[in-house]
């Protein structure tokens, strides 16, 4: 477990989670979690199903109210803010369910994101995901799982977010699309920071600058040396 590197240049962190605990009613799911992300970094959370990874992202995004601790993004405390204010502020959550607004067209899906962020420039989204161009006027519900995931990530990148919280982006997707997403994530890291929950270890090893292992609602390990992020190092936590 290496913690030294993360604390040295804390002033440059874009997202810093300290001592975060959260619960669904009586059931506690997160205990004293510390996570930090710097601009331009891709940080991954690994862990088994039910370890609390999704709960962590949801409590950062404001969908689950923390019972203790703080979430600071770009010098602003997010705890207690409404989810839509957090998203507007630039911390965007991409859920794992791959549910786009299926009754709306792809264009309308993007329009909504533009409406929320006042960013009407879709060039970059379409550059990342040229496939969306062909489906512009189709109902989003008719697209494949991979295309829906592209739309969800594309939607979230509008408005130049500070941090993207992406939940299991590659779950159930074809290998070709996973490769495509890997390149997109690398490109995205040039403009924003990413906190990704992912079980696909080869992908994690290829892109992550830092890895947190989460087990039973606690951070059990942190690997912040890029060279130390290997398949074997991560696998023991799955």
């Amino acid at each position: 477990m290496t913690t030294d590197a993360s604390t040295t240049i804390s002033n440059s962190e874009i997202l810093k989670v300290t001592g975060l605990s959260a619960a669904y009613g009586e059931a506690k799911v997160l205990f004293d979690i510390d996570v930090s992300v710097k601009p331009g970094q891709i940080v991954a959370c690994v862990g088994r199903n039910g370890a609390g990874k999704t709960s962590l992202l949801r409590s950062i995004a404001g969908f689950l109210n923390p019972t203790a601790g703080s979430v600071v993004a770009d010098a602003r405390n997010l705890v207690g803010m409404k989810p839509y204010d957090i998203a507007k502020f630039g911390v965007k959550y991409v859920p794992q369910d791959k549910k786009v607004f299926s009754d709306l067209t792809v264009r309308e899906n993007l329009e909504l994101a533009s409406y929320a962020t006042n960013d009407h420039n879709w060039d970059r989204v379409l550059e990342f995901f040229p496939k969306l161009k062909q489906h512009m006027d189709r109902k989003a519900g008719f697209m494949s799982g991979g295309e829906r995931q592209m739309l969800m990530i594309g939607r979230a990148t509008l408005g130049s977010p500070k941090v993207l919280l992406i939940d299991e982006p590659t779950e159930g997707l074809a290998p070709g699309i996973v490769t495509h997403l890997r390149n997109v994530f690398k490109e995205l890291a040039k403009m924003t920071a990413l906190l990704i929950v992912e079980q696909n270890l080869p992908l994690v090893c290829a892109i992550a600058d830092r890895v947190y292992a989460i087990k039973d609602g606690r951070v059990v390990a942190e690997v912040s040396d890029k060279d130390a992020i290997t398949f074997d190092a991560c696998e023991q936590y799955l």
């Binding site: 989810p83 965007k92 549910k99 329009e111």
Partner: protein, 290 residues
């Protein structure tokens, strides 16, 4: 055979009745679709709309001023109610909101009794002109009511499909959390939807007033029909609401030509049959909670 003239006037009557039910049910249905609440207090705004049509209509001498006032007042009250009460209970189970709004409805009836007493009030029909439809004389007011419903349906459709706020509402009906995740203020969407619903209920009350007696219990009496309509159509579906409002209007109206007491019961039997085949109504989504 039923007399053709009787049948035509029955169908027109049913269309106008269905139109009023539609105006009321659409609000109930939208509120359920978006906020997952069962807003019985819509029937209170309906009563307020009717009473405003009576009071303001009498004071200004113009029925249409009364209807406008009823629509505006209903919208205002629903705005206040949404901000003060519903805001706190959106997270809860739909039945929770049903109990709360039933309390509002009953309390509102108390308020109406306080201001207007229990004596039923008549509202004069604004125009007694009759027009000829397929050889049958039909009161033009009924056609105006139908016209209102058509305008509202088209208006709602355009609002939901052509404006960005409407698109956001459609998206939020599907998945409110994702809309929030994009950074759209859903709380504002809720308020807008609730106020639209309340105003439409007020409009329905104002338009219905000349066709019935305005009395404190009118909301409760209409409630059963509005319920059956949203249930037959399926909670949260606008198309379903329109179709079932038209059907129920016709059943009640044309049915009463055949045998009046049974006509009032027929929608209930219809509802049971629909529920037997589809427990969530004709166009209702099977999802339980989000």
């Amino acid at each position: 055979m039923i007399d053709t003239q009787l049948l035509i006037s029955g169908v027109i009557f049913g269309l106008s009745l269905g139109s009023i039910y539609f105006l009321l049910a659409i609000g109930l249905s939208l509120c359920f679709g978006l906020m997952r609440i069962i807003s019985l207090d819509q029937l209170l705004y309906y009563s307020f709309g009717a009473y405003m049509a009576y009071t303001v209509g009498l004071a200004t001498g113009s029925f249409w001023f009364g209807v406008a006032a009823g629509t505006v007042v209903a919208g205002l009250i629903s705005f206040i109610v949404e901000r003060l009460i519903f805001r706190r209970i959106y997270e809860r189970d739909p039945t929770f909101s049903m109990i709360t709004s039933f309390g509002l409805l009953i309390g509102g009836i108390g308020v109406i009794k306080f201001f207007w007493g229990v004596v039923p009030r008549p509202v004069e029909v604004p125009t007694v002109i009759q027009v000829d439809v397929f050889g049958t004389a039909v009161p033009v007011y009924r056609l105006i009511v139908i016209g209102f419903a058509i305008v509202v349906y088209v208006g709602i459709w355009l609002f939901l499909h052509r404006t960005i706020v409407g698109k956001a509402i459609r998206a939020a009906i599907e998945n409110v959390e994702h809309v929030e995740g994009l950074g759209i203020n859903v709380s504002r969407l809720f308020t807008i939807t609730f106020v639209i619903a309340g105003a439409l209920s007020g409009l329905a009350g104002g338009l219905h007033a000349p066709l019935i007696m305005v009395d404190p219990m009118m909301g409760l009496e209409t409630m059963a029909f509005v319920f059956m309509i949203v249930i037959i159509g399926g909670l949260g579906s606008i198309k379903g609401t329109l179709i079932s409002a038209l059907i129920v209007g016709q059943v009640v109206s044309v049915g009463s030509i055949i045998y009046a007491p049974m006509a009032q019961m027929a929608p209930f039997v219809m509802m049971l049959l629909v529920l037997l085949v589809r427990p969530t109504g004709l166009y209702g989504s099977p999802l339980y909670k989000r």
